[in-house]
Every structure is written in C-alpha cells, then in structure tokens.
Amino acid sequence: MTTTAIGHNTHLAERAYRIRRNALLMGEVQGQGYIGQALDIADVLAVSYFHAMRYRPAEPEWEGRDRFMLSNGHYAIALYAALIEAGIIPQEELETYGSDDSRLPMSGMASYTPGMEMSGGSLGLGLSLAVGRCLGLKRKGSDARVYTLFSDGELDEGSVWEAILSAAHWKLDNLIAIVDVNNQQADGPSTQVMAFEPLTDKLAAFGWFVQRVDGNDLDAVVAAFDAAKSCPDPKPRMIVCDTKMGKGVPFLEAREKNHFIRVDAHEWQLALDALDAGRTA
C-alpha cells in the first residue's frame, strides 16, 4: 500500500494515490518539480480535501467554504494535484503546469488559480495571512475554518513566530495549521539548518492545541484533523506532520535527500509505475 489506512479511510488512500499521480504527471510535463514534497504531503491533502474541509468544487469562492492557505508556494504542484482531484481545476489543465499563460505556475499565487487562497513562495507569510482570515471570519460570525499548510523550514522565519504568538492571543480556534516536517530545506536537513525541536513543547508553551502525527499514516492524520476540529479549547490548533519525502515511490524515497529531488527524464514513467505497484500491493 502507498499509505496506511484501515476501515473507512481506504477511500482516502485512493484519493492520496490520485493526488500523487496528478503530481507526477505534472512533474513529467515540466521535466522537474518539487515532487519529493508533493509525494510527502499527498496524504495530508487527501484528508484535508476529502475528509475535513467544506467546499463546493463548482464555486471555489463560496463564502461558506473552509479556506486552505498554502504558505509554502513551491508545494503548488501538490495543491494543484489535490484541486484537480477535488474537481476545482479540470483534469486536462494538468498538461499546462508551469507553461506560459498557464493558471498553474510553479509557485502558487492567488490571482492565477481557482482555489488558491494566497500568494505564497516568499516563505513565512501564510500564518500571518491566516490570522487575518480567522479574525475576519470571526467578525462575520462565520463558522468556516482556515487551514494553513507550511513547511518546517519556515519555522526559521521570525514572522511565523509573530503569527504563532498572535493566534493564541486572539484565541483563534478556527485556525488549523499544519506544518510539514519532512526535515528538508534548501541547504540541508531542517533540524540541522536551524534547530527547532522540541517543536510540540514549544508550540504548546505558546498556547496552541498541538498534535504530532506520522503525516503519511492516513488513520493518524484523520484522527488528528478530527481532534483539531472538535477540541473545545479556545486555542489555535497545530498538527505537526512528520512526513517522508518521495513517499509512495520507493526509489525516490531512497534517493539522496534534497530540497529539489532530481528525477531524470526516463524516471517519470518509472515513478508512475512504482506508484501503481504500491496501489495494488
């Protein structure tokens, strides 16, 4: 199996497989992409879009939707893959990924893509924007939630901690933040670039409801999202997801870890084959 799932979460495993497949197809179009990250976060996106979140595929701006904010804009390939699977972006548009005049640029931007709620890419922006969205939703009396995904490397940014402090100050219980701890950033393993552990203790001390799970264990991720939604405390919620770069494609999982995993031209098909093999295993 690509990812662990038992009981009623098997449908999520199929969603996660299709998100990974979409991402690989886009990577093949461009000949490159942040595929290691897309594969590691596919399970979290499957749970977000097919278990936790409320939205209308035909109406991406629907006022009652939960907002999904992608802070790490280079994960756009993963989010496009999920938005395609969710029916917000047509499947055939995948062919345009990263091309001139495409709605699917390499780094995610709000004005380009339906369902893209922010312009990320300059790392460390997302949580601050999410704080504003949460304050705004509360002002409007909306019960919609804000989900925001950011990467462990972004923990180096001071602005992230400004937002962490303020989300607790404002008791933003409508905020569910997800940090992808794949322990990889541009210059090396994140924990070596700038030590951020013990992360859950730090976040709890900042006043957050914190859970830490294997981000590639669908049952665990589902349980964490459920607990984040049902927690009665007036606190923002953080789900720390430990993930594996290249997850679901064994030869990419085993490849030397890099922020930008090298995939040779002939390997895209091999990766798709490996993904399929995992699906039917």
């Binding site: 922006l125 601050s128 924007l129 704080v131 705004g136 400004e162 937002a163």
Partner: protein
C-alpha cells in the same frame, strides 16, 4: 565614522533639543488641528462598518487610539510585529473588511516591505497603510527617519502613494482613500497637525495635483509638509520680487503627469521639486522622469534630503541643515536665480 566632540554651549542662544516622539511638526504659533486622521477615521467609521483598525503597538503615536476608543471591537492590537500586521490586514481585507493599518513609516517600508509587497500589493488587497514619522519628522536618527519610504513604495505595483500636507488634507484624504478599492500607502502627520490648505480653497482629490498659487519666476512642485514650506517661501520671496508658483502633488503615485507637464511646460520658470524625502527615487526623480520622457526641459532643481544617514537632533536644526526649512529653501532658490 566617528563624530566630532561638540563644543560646550556658549552664548545667549539656547541649544535646541531633540523633541520627544509625540511632538508636533507645527511651528510656533502656527494654526493646528488635533489628530485629524484619528478623528476622520472615527467619522468615516459611522457609515462604513467594514472599516477596521490595526496597529503594531503604535496606536497612541499614530492617532489610531481615537478610533480604538470609539470602536473597541473594530480595533486589533497586533503587538510590535509589523510583518504580522501587514499579513493579518491582508487577510481581513480578503474577508471583505477595509483595514486601516498604522505604524511608523520606517517599519512599514523597511521592516515589513516584503509583506506589503506580497500579501497586500501583489494580492491587490484593499488595505490602507497609514504611517507616522515620514521623511525627516523625527530627531531620533535613521532608525526612525523614513527618508526613503516614497522611493520604496513607488516601486511597488498596485500601490497608491499619498503624501498629504496638513490637517485639512488628511481629513479629506481619509474618506477618499477608503473609497478607492485597492492598496494605499499614506504618510501621516499626527498630534497637533498644521492647518494651512483651508485658506487656499483647496480640496483633496486622489491622483490630482493642484496649483495653490501662481507665479511667473519659479514653479515649486511639492508634496507633504514641503508644500507648507513652499507657501511660506513664496510669501518670503515676494519681498525680493520673486514670483513663486506652488503646485501641490499629494498623490505621488499615480502621478498627475498631465498637470505637472502643463505647469512645467510654461516657459521662463525655474522648476524646483521640494520633498521631505531623499533626493533618490521620490517626487523629484518622478517629476524629472516625466519631464524627460515628454521632452519638456525647464531649468530643474531638487530640494530634498541628501543620500546619507541623517543626524539625530532637533527638527528645526536638521531641517535647516538639510535644506528643507523655509529659510534654507528660500536661500537655495535665490541662489539658483542668481
């Protein structure tokens, strides 16, 4: 670079001291109005429930405390965190609110530049950034002197840039920028703000430069407090039979090129651009570029802050030192006329 040891104070003239942060920019005996921004925002807030106020620990120093007192549930204290401030304002705007965000100009422009760029300008959110201590209006030294705020914000697409002159103009600019759907940066004069333009039958219009007085010898093109200075200079130079016109350009971007070209194109006048800003990248170079591109070539001079880190000290001293006081400006213009 070390500074020379100052000589002990001697003689009758008292040494001027650096003013406290809360000090007014108004000269002695000048007519003023208290907190025009804060009061105008409270007034506007009566009919515009979408307006919210955010600050980064500077409500009292940007007159936003008046809004906070009138509408406590519409005020967000974001702490001393300018990046968060800008991001959160963008998020609130995305949810349909109209945030007025205050801090000092140095922090908005230098500390939070990328956040303004990405979360507000690039996303084209309806956020109004209103900042105290623009240009050289603090004696604290470079940490608080936003000599380059206009250059930085002019370079940002989508962002409208406003440099109002006085209390009269600020009162009118607040509803005008709120009515504009898009991001705006506005310089703020806070506390007891000089009142000047009410005597000139003047009304603020977004994007419009206005001729406040005509004159045959010199055309001063100015914004912000330098328009107030230019009007003083025009009166001073009447005694020397120098006839000075003053064109006030409160909207730095988009620039009212048509009016500037029309006035600068009238023959026989020295054109002097005066700004409370470094001579790099502000109104002076914006006007120069517009003139060059249009093939309009009058004699041209700039009055503005030099390209250096400015001294700490008392504002009147510093304004004299850097040539933006009325006296220094009058002397410069007389020198150029020969």
């Amino acid at each position: 670079m070390s500074r020379p040891t100052p000589a002990p104070a001697t003689g009758a003239k008292p040494k001027l001291k650096t003013s406290a942060m809360i000090a007014s920019i108004a000269g002695e005996g000048q007519r003023t109005k208290a907190a025009p921004f804060g009061n105008a925002l409270v007034e506007l807030g009566k009919s515009r429930e979408d307006i919210v106020g955010l600050t980064a620990d500077l409500a009292k120093y940007t007159d936003l405390h008046i809004f906070a007192k009138a509408y406590p549930d519409r005020f967000y204290q974001m702490g001393m965190a300018e990046q968060l401030l800008m991001g959160a304002a963008s998020g609130l705007a995305h949810e349909g609110f109209t945030p007025f965000v205050t801090t000092y100009a140095v922090f908005a422009s230098r500390r939070a530049y990328d956040f303004v760029h990405q979360t507000i300008a690039e996303e084209n959110r309806n956020v109004k950034i209103v900042c105290a201590l623009p240009g050289l209006t603090s004696g604290y030294g470079p940490s608080h002197q936003a000599a380059e705020d206009l250059a930085l914000f002019r370079a940002m697409p989508n962002l409208m840039v406003i440099d109002p002159c006085d209390a009269h103009e600020i009162e009118q600019a607040v509803p005008a920028i709120a009515a504009h759907n898009g991001p705006v940066y506005m310089r703020l004069l806070r506390g007891n703000v000089p009142l000047v333009l009410d005597e000139y039958d003047y009304s603020f219009e977004l994007g419009k430069a206005k001729l406040l007085r005509d004159g045959a010898d010199v055309l001063v093109v100015s914004s912000g407090i330098m328009t107030m200075r230019a009007l003083e200079v025009a009166t001073m130079l009447e005694r020397d039979k120098v006839d000075v016109a003053v064109l006030h350009v409160p909207t730095i971007k988009p620039l009212d090129t048509a009016t500037i070209l029309r006035e600068a194109g009238r023959s026989g006048r020295l054109v002097v651009v005066a700004e409370n800003h470094t001579v790099i990248g502000g109104l002076g170079e914006a006007v120069a570029g517009a003139l060059l591109r249009a093939g309009v070539h009058p004699p041209f001079r700039q009055i503005g802050l030099p390209d250096e880190f400015l001294d700490a000290g008392a504002l009147p001293t510093l304004h004299d030192r850097y040539g933006i006081s009325a006296n220094a400006m009058a002397a410069s213009i007389k020198g150029w006329l020969g």
